[in-house]
Assembly symmetry: C2
């Protein structure tokens, strides 16, 4: 439909999470109707984001600079590091504005089923930051899944030698639920009610 360029656009759009073939077509049509004001600006935004995005070497966040804007923000409390599974969780906590410290993105959880072991997770940079000193608390903000709990246990063990307080978000994360689907209030409650790890 509409030649190879339009077909490829629809095809790639339909691979986005949350967009089925039907909504991909609708989105493509909306964009194609206004190529100058909608389609090309989005293409340009993608190009710029794609060229500038990097993974923060300190915390694992995605940002246009490295270290990321959170790691380099002087107003944030460098003595508290919140460990999350993914960048989506970091974004969720930032939107809720409930954590004024720094982050560490683990890049997943341990999973026997998926064959994800300790060596597959982004742990080393966190240990380096703890070795540098100045950190007094690590908050484990992992999902309330079996894998999340396993990972939290393992992490608490790994962090014990550093003598920092290890706490976990607890109340408010529904069983089996992922962190980044929660509303801001629930996230705030979960963070406030954290308990020592």
């Amino acid at each position: 439909m509409g030649g190879p360029e339009i077909e490829r656009l629809i095809e790639l759009l339909s691979r986005l999470p949350g967009l089925g073939p039907r909504s991909a077509r609708r989105a493509a049509l909306t964009l194609l109707r206004q190529p100058q004001t909608r389609l090309l600006p989005l293409a340009d935004a993608m190009q710029r984001a794609g060229q500038s995005v990097r993974t923060c070497s300190r915390c694992g966040n995605l940002d246009s600079r490295d270290p990321c804007s959170i790691c380099t923000d002087d107003h944030r409390d460098g003595s508290v590091i919140c460990v999350v599974e993914g960048v989506g969780d970091l974004w969720a906590l930032e939107r809720a504005a409930v954590h004024r410290g720094l982050y560490h993105v683990l890049g997943g959880t341990l999973s026997a089923l998926a064959g994800i072991g300790p060596e597959d997770l982004n742990l080393r940079p966190l240990l380096s930051r703890l070795e540098e000193g100045g950190v007094r608390e690590v908050i484990l903000a992992l999902g309330a899944t079996v894998d999340g709990a396993t990972t939290a246990h393992w992490l608490a063990d790994r962090l014990q030698p550093f003598g920092v307080t290890v706490s976990r978000v607890a109340q408010g994360v529904p069983m089996g639920g992922a962190l980044d689907v929660l509303d801001d209030g629930t996230l705030a409650a979960a963070l406030m009610a954290r308990r020592a790890g």
Copy 2:
């Protein structure tokens, strides 16, 4: 979150129909995690589509060439023209593969409420094609809305002097429903059961 480039990407994605802020963030994250293999190829596809898309001067379809690939397809029956409100309807009929003639995209329907009059619709190129001759039937495939029915009436009147058969898709289009949400079978039935206008 993640600097101005990433924020702008999320912002533009969230304006797409079918993507709320939440799914826009998920989509952005998926793309940002694989900039080389996902984000930049999509940016490129958008660029190419945006630069190549044009409105067919014969039928109003969107395509990378003008006249469009349907208008220039020798295997199609040039004696039957199917009039649709928008390109999305044309795509729906093409997917259902129930119409082997040509199309005309009207670009909307008459609407007293929205202040859309005959002069706002893409009618002139259709009349020119009828003047050229060789057309024996015009199928009005408009939605079963009040505005769609009004438009079909008005069009049937306007086309009468040309001596072509004017028919309307009828059975199968649910009352108040738009054409492009129908399944292929329903579309096929509606087209088969068309009645003289």
